[in-house]
């Protein structure tokens, strides 16, 4: 089987190199080839990998960790979720291929992750064309204008979602489908807390039997994926720990001071996109800091921002804005930590 594939690939390479027009699409073939047979190249840009695994295995690990969330999304919100994921892969993939063909670069597998994470942070009822617009904006303006995977400042999936949230506020914030029901919409736990002070039961929050974005509702699947990521050392444990810890402490204190606008810690931890964001998006190796000290600060500031946006602003959920906001500061935090570590080096 593998021999046959290898022969097919070699034949395809020959055809491509012989033809002038087709040879522009060499990156596409290269990506397919590497997908099956691995690569012998060394990773140059971020994420910096100091292990024997290369970028591809690294991304595949994240993909495996996200799969339980995707499965939970399909289980709760129906077959439509698979359509969303396909739209995201196709629309984003076309942009990715277009850019790599024009710029004559390799196609990078970073998109495999963006393409699956992005549909998981969308509302389940969003029209397909809207999802396509979001992923195109995310890939082009979140990643390609900065030079491709490893050079982006912002998390591309988050850029896509923020664009949608600002461009289509009604579709993105008001219609949340109830799990297992096709046409019934209701408010998410965070919205009903903000509106009426109602707290959903922690058990339902944990299982995911609540309205919300596709992949964020089932907390058990997210926690499973997070444990897998941390055991394989693909995600650093410092960011989720400091993020969630800060949020728990702050919400405990603020809940005592302003019980009306700040929910108790357990509810805050289990509601909204917090866990999903903390585990899959805040730990993105490209857009988060790479020094350990900076990771602690990064997580703490994320927690402070999220609690403040949830409690003080008009938005019910602050994870998205907190992560995008802190992405800007991650190089700065790294520089601060490096300057602190090497403060005596120049003397």
């Amino acid at each position: 089987m593998t021999k046959l594939l290898r022969k097919l690939m070699d034949a395809a390479y020959k055809i491509l190199e012989g033809n002038k027009i087709l040879s522009r699409f060499k990156p596409v073939l290269g990506a397919t080839d590497e997908f099956f047979f691995g690569t012998d190249k060394v990773t140059v840009g971020a994420p910096h990998i100091r292990d024997s695994i290369d970028l591809k295995r690294y991304m595949i690990t994240v993909l495996i960790a996200v799969l339980p969330c995707a499965a939970a999304g399909v289980y709760f919100f129906g077959i439509r979720v698979i359509g969303l994921i396909m739209v995201s892969y196709i629309a984003g993939g076309v942009c990715e291929v277009l850019f790599s063909v024009i710029r004559k670069k390799e196609i990078n597998e970073g998109f495999l992750i963006t393409g699956i994470i992005y549909p998981l942070i969308l509302p389940p009822d969003i029209p397909f064309w809207m999802a396509a617009v979001g992923i195109i904006v995310g890939v082009v303006f979140g990643k390609e204008v900065f030079g491709g995977t490893g050079k982006n400042i912002f998390n591309p999936a988050m850029v896509g979602r923020i664009f949608l949230a600002v461009a289509f506020p009604i579709e993105m914030t008001s219609e949340w489908r109830v799990p297992f029901a096709d046409a019934i919409t209701s408010a998410t736990p965070l919205i009903s807390f903000k509106g009426m002070g109602a707290l959903a039961s922690n058990w339902n929050l944990l299982l995911g039997n609540i309205p919300g974005s596709v992949g964020e509702t089932c907390k058990i699947a997210i926690i499973l994926g997070g444990i897998f990521l941390i055991i394989t050392k693909v995600a650093n444990w410092r960011i989720p720990l400091s993020y969630l810890g800060t949020l728990a402490v702050l919400s405990l204190v603020f809940n005592k001071i302003w019980p009306g606008s700040f929910a108790p810690p357990l509810f805050q931890l289990l509601s909204g996109g917090l866990l999903f964001g903390a585990i899959f998006m805040a730990t993105d190796p490209v857009t988060s800091p790479f020094t350990q000290g900076a990771r602690w600060i990064y997580g703490i500031l994320l927690g402070v921002l999220t609690v403040c946006i949830r409690g003080f602003s008009g938005y019910v959920e602050g994870v998205m804005f907190a992560i995008i906001f802190m992405n800007i500061f991650s190089p700065l935090l790294d520089q601060m930590i490096l300057g602190f570590r090497f403060r005596n080096a120049g003397k």
Binding site: M130, V145, V166, A167, F168
Partner: protein, 217 residues
């Protein structure tokens, strides 16, 4: 005898036309105020949510720039270097007040929609830039053509950006619905972030066409 004279006249005319068209095209395209000089960005972001506003703004700036460039070019040898900025400012303000009054009298709705941005044409960097770098050292006719070119380039940029923004943000062009009643408005295009996005893409595309990047050695 007579024919030779007219021939020479024709040649001279053609030479002059060629020179002026080069000046015009230079500021319209090669040195486009938005894409190459990146001047006048504030007004570009502010008034491009509707095409009608963009047209009014583009024409207003072009008019103000033409008037002030010619006047500044006429008095360029009389103004002491030290106070030239203040003098230019007075000339430009006069032209802008003319535009403002005209809009208020004949197009009150557009004047209302654009709010303070008509008065703020005074601070439009393109006008001061052309006055300082071109009109203060060139003859009136050349300055006039130069101002027209810069105005046309500015208007062109405004029209492209406003078309995209109005089409996506309201689903209409010149307030006529063209995308049907089912069109979902892109709220971001009406707001400032959308303007930044479209402006960035516009500059990107134009510079790709011109094949001129700042990074070229």
């Amino acid at each position: 005898m007579n024919s030779r004279k007219s021939k020479r006249k024709k040649l001279a005319l053609r030479f002059v036309l060629k020179r002026y068209s080069r000046i015009f095209l230079n500021t319209l395209w090669n040195d486009n105020p938005i894409c190459r000089m990146v001047l006048g960005i504030c007004s570009t972001l502010a008034v491009t949510n509707r095409l009608a506003n963009a047209v009014a703004m583009g024409l207003g700036v072009t008019f103000a720039m033409a008037v002030s460039s010619v006047s500044i070019s006429l008095i360029r040898n009389l103004v002491p270097r030290r106070v030239r900025m203040i003098v230019y400012m007075i000339v430009i303000s006069t032209a802008v007040i003319l535009v403002d009054r005209y809009l208020k009298a004949y197009f009150p709705e557009i004047s209302e929609a654009m709010g303070p941005y008509v008065g703020l044409i005074i601070t439009n960097c393109i006008i001061m830039g052309r006055a300082e770098s071109y009109a203060s050292v060139n003859k009136p006719m050349a300055s006039f053509i130069d101002a027209l070119g810069a105005g046309a380039g500015y208007t062109f940029a405004l029209l492209v950006i406003a078309t995209v923004r109005e089409l996506l943000g309201f689903g209409s062009i010149f307030n006529i619905k063209v995308l049907g009643p089912d069109w979902t408005s892109w709220v971001i295009m009406i707001m400032a972030p959308g303007a930044f996005l479209v402006l960035g893409v516009f500059i990107w595309v134009i510079r790709s066409i011109q094949k001129s990047y700042d990074a070229t050695p």
